[in-house]
């Protein structure tokens, strides 16, 4: 009667735990199969660990890394933290690649400090580690491959000085207290402007804050307190976008020269319209490419520079349709779909 029902239900239940695992078996095997094909003849394995995997920027880095890998005949294993921007998750990814025994690691650390212990562990087990994109407080790295932010700021300053003919009043809207990369851009901008006696910096102590919203508000306040000025520089995408909105609201996009840093769809559209006069662009594809090359060079015993600049360029409205600019604005990601 009822004696066998619970036992049967229990037996069924015990298989239930295994079901989700078994169901994913083909997926797992598939994922594994692809990889073993790629690394059929003992190619060097380079783990490339971004800060996240969903942003366009990281996809561009991935495309660059993959391009270098194909050219050099090595295999890139691309794996970011399971939770975007989660330090602990990135630590775990690095540890697991150390276990796996990859030949080299390219790490874009989420944190200047927290990623140092796992990087040191990799180094301790003979795996060379290249740091890319953001700096890490750790001495044993092969190289630091990233944008020279100070230089990017200088380029913006020189471009603005040239647009103004070496004469005028300019505003710097800073990004965020404690953000190292943008602070370098701001300093670079001020250094370049300081070389032009005719240009006066009328405001350089306002911060845009982390969000577009806060940048918008800070920009409105700035425009309110300075009715007349000739040029503006904003050191990142959100600050530039907030300023753009404020300039549009007050109808002053044409009266002042405006230079931003980094691109977004809206900023590029504004650049095309001439509402933004120039954008400073980084090169994430080149960053992925150069970082993988640095790592492979070290493994193959070649000398590697301790600091590799991945380059920045200033793009003016008139240059937007040049092929090299288009390559930066919408990088070719087709290599990732092969």
């Amino acid at each position: 009667m009822s004696t066998s029902t619970p036992a049967r239900a229990l037996r069924k239940a015990s298989t239930l735990l295994t079901l989700p695992l078994l169901a994913t078996l083909p997926v797992l095997l598939g994922a594994c199969g692809n990889e073993s094909e790629a690394g059929a003849e003992k190619a060097l394995q380079i783990a490339v660990i971004p800060k996240g995997t969903t942003h366009e920027y990281w996809k561009a880095v991935h495309a660059g890394a993959e391009g270098a890998a194909q050219e050099l005949g090595v295999q890139v294993v691309w794996k970011g933290p399971i939770k975007e921007d989660d330090r602990a998750a990135q630590v775990q990814v690095v540890e697991d690649f150390v276990v796996r025994g990859v030949d080299g690691i390219v790490l874009m650390p989420l944190d200047k400090v927290a990623l140092a212990p796992p990087a040191a562990e990799a180094h301790g087990r003979g795996i060379p580690v290249v740091i890319a994109d953001s700096d890490l407080d750790w001495k044993d790295r092969v190289s630091f491959v990233a944008t020279d932010n100070h230089h990017g700021g200088e380029l913006a300053g020189e471009a603005l000085a040239e647009m103004l003919g070496g004469d005028g009043r300019v505003i710097l809207l800073r990004y965020l207290e404690g953000s190292a990369s943008t602070a370098e851009r701001e300093q670079g901008f001020l250094d370049a402007i300081a070389k032009h006696d005719g240009i006066e910096v009328i405001s350089a102590n306002q911060y845009a804050g982390a969000s577009t919203e806060s940048a918008y508000k800070a920009s409105e306040d700035l425009l309110q307190s300075f009715p007349s000025f000739d040029g503006i520089f904003c050191p990142n995408e959100s600050a530039a976008f907030g300023m753009l909105r404020a300039l549009q609201d007050s109808g002053r996009t044409k009266t002042a020269k405006f230079i931003g840093f980094d691109a977004s769809e809206k900023l590029v559209a504004a650049l095309r319209e001439g509402e933004v006069d120039a954008l400073v662009l980084q090169d994430p594809v080149r960053m992925g490419d150069l970082a993988v090359r640095a790592c492979v060079d070290r493994i193959r015993g070649k000398a590697v520079e301790p600091r590799i600049d991945t380059g920045v360029v200033v793009v003016k409205s008139s240059e937007i349709d040049k092929p090299e600019v288009q390559a930066l604005l919408s990088p070719d990601l087709s290599i990732l779909n092969r």
């Binding site: 015990s14 735990l17 970011g80 989660d86 330090r87 602990a88 944190d111």
Partner: protein
């Protein structure tokens, strides 16, 4: 009278399944990955790595066993871990040294537990709602204390607690792993031998009856949530050691891993069951899964789908078991 009745035999079968189910699950995961993952998965070094990666979820799961066994739930553990890691970092930065700073971290966790337990017992609110509230609030306090940033601090030997390098590990394992094992042992004794454990089970099995039998339900619940908070707090202290910074954004969604570990370990979300050993195996299974996925280079979305499937599967298993129990 003396010969075992059919129902007693069924109970034994049920018990053995409850006990060995998690082991079977773990064995399947290990076998699966030892086939498909590259060499290195089955190495001693990887075992140490996974053990270290288990600690945060494992320690939190110890407290969660008591909560779930008493018929409750605590969704705030992820945020509590973050709050404790920030509190510990602030202690270290203020120069209080390792032990006092760790105590600050554990106390911060216990405080969250006290708020949870207080709201649940005084206002008679469902634990799900209360801890959903403190999930947000504790995260907010962590960000507030950390000034919306990570907190840099000298980590001292707390960092070594989660390091498995030769000069800091004890008998080959990171000190944090031994701490987890010791806490698990103490908790198992508390649960099995003491009246605290008996009362916890009584509340989870049938709260009105427990009250009639003279179990101080409100005080017990308060103590259970404080225990859970303190366990998450200790996990937060070790998270600080692992990251070497106090991170208000860390362990987001970790509560799901913790609950999954406890449920995979044989606990029922309707209360009355769940063991420490099972939860430890559950936590180890979750860590092994993540580790295996990383080693194999499986894309993140596959890993997320997999973990989601495991959680649903484990809860479905709980439902089946509950129904089987009701039928028996």
């Amino acid at each position: 009278m003396t010969s075992p009745s059919p129902s007693a035999r069924r109970t034994r079968l049920q018990q053995s399944l409850d006990t060995f189910g998690p082991f079977i699950g773990l064995a399947i995961v290990v076998i699966l990955f030892s086939i498909i993952a590259p060499s290195g998965f089955l190495s001693l070094y990887n075992a140490k790595t996974v053990a270290t990666q288990t600690v945060i979820v494992g320690l939190s799961a110890i407290g969660m066993v008591f909560v779930i066994r008493s018929g409750g739930i605590d969704l705030s553990v992820g945020s509590t871990i973050a709050l404790a890691s920030v509190a510990t970092a602030l202690g270290m930065r203020a120069g209080y040294g390792e032990i006092p700073s760790a105590l600050i971290g554990v106390s911060a966790g216990a405080l969250v537990g006290l708020v949870n337990g207080g709201l649940i017992t005084r206002l008679s609110l469902p634990p799900f709602i209360v801890t959903l509230g403190t999930l947000g609030a504790a995260r907010g306090v962590a960000k507030w204390l950390g000034d919306e940033q990570k907190v840099d601090a000298p980590s001292g030997w707390l960092q070594d607690a989660m390091s498995k390098s030769a000069d800091t590990s004890v008998l080959g394992l990171a000190p944090g792993v031994w701490l987890m094992i010791a806490c698990a042992g103490a908790a198992a004794i508390l649960l099995r031998v003491t009246v605290f454990g008996t009362w916890t089970t009584a509340i989870g099995s049938n709260e009105p009856t427990a009250r009639l039998c003279g179990v101080p339900v409100a005080r017990m619940k308060l103590a259970i949530y404080v225990l859970c908070g303190a366990a998450a707090g200790l996990a937060g202290v070790l998270q600080f050691g692992r990251l070497t910074v106090g991170d208000p954004t860390t362990a987001m969604g970790k509560e799901l891993d913790v609950i999954a570990a406890v449920v995979i370990g044989g606990a029922s979300l309707s209360g009355g069951t769940g063991t420490i050993l099972g939860a430890m195996i559950g936590a180890f299974l979750m860590a092994t899964l993540a580790n295996g996925c990383n080693l194999t280079g499986i894309p993140n979305y596959v890993q997320e789908i997999l973990i989601g499937a495991i959680i649903v599967g484990a809860v479905a298993l709980d439902g089946w078991r509950a129904r089987a129990r009701a039928a028996a």
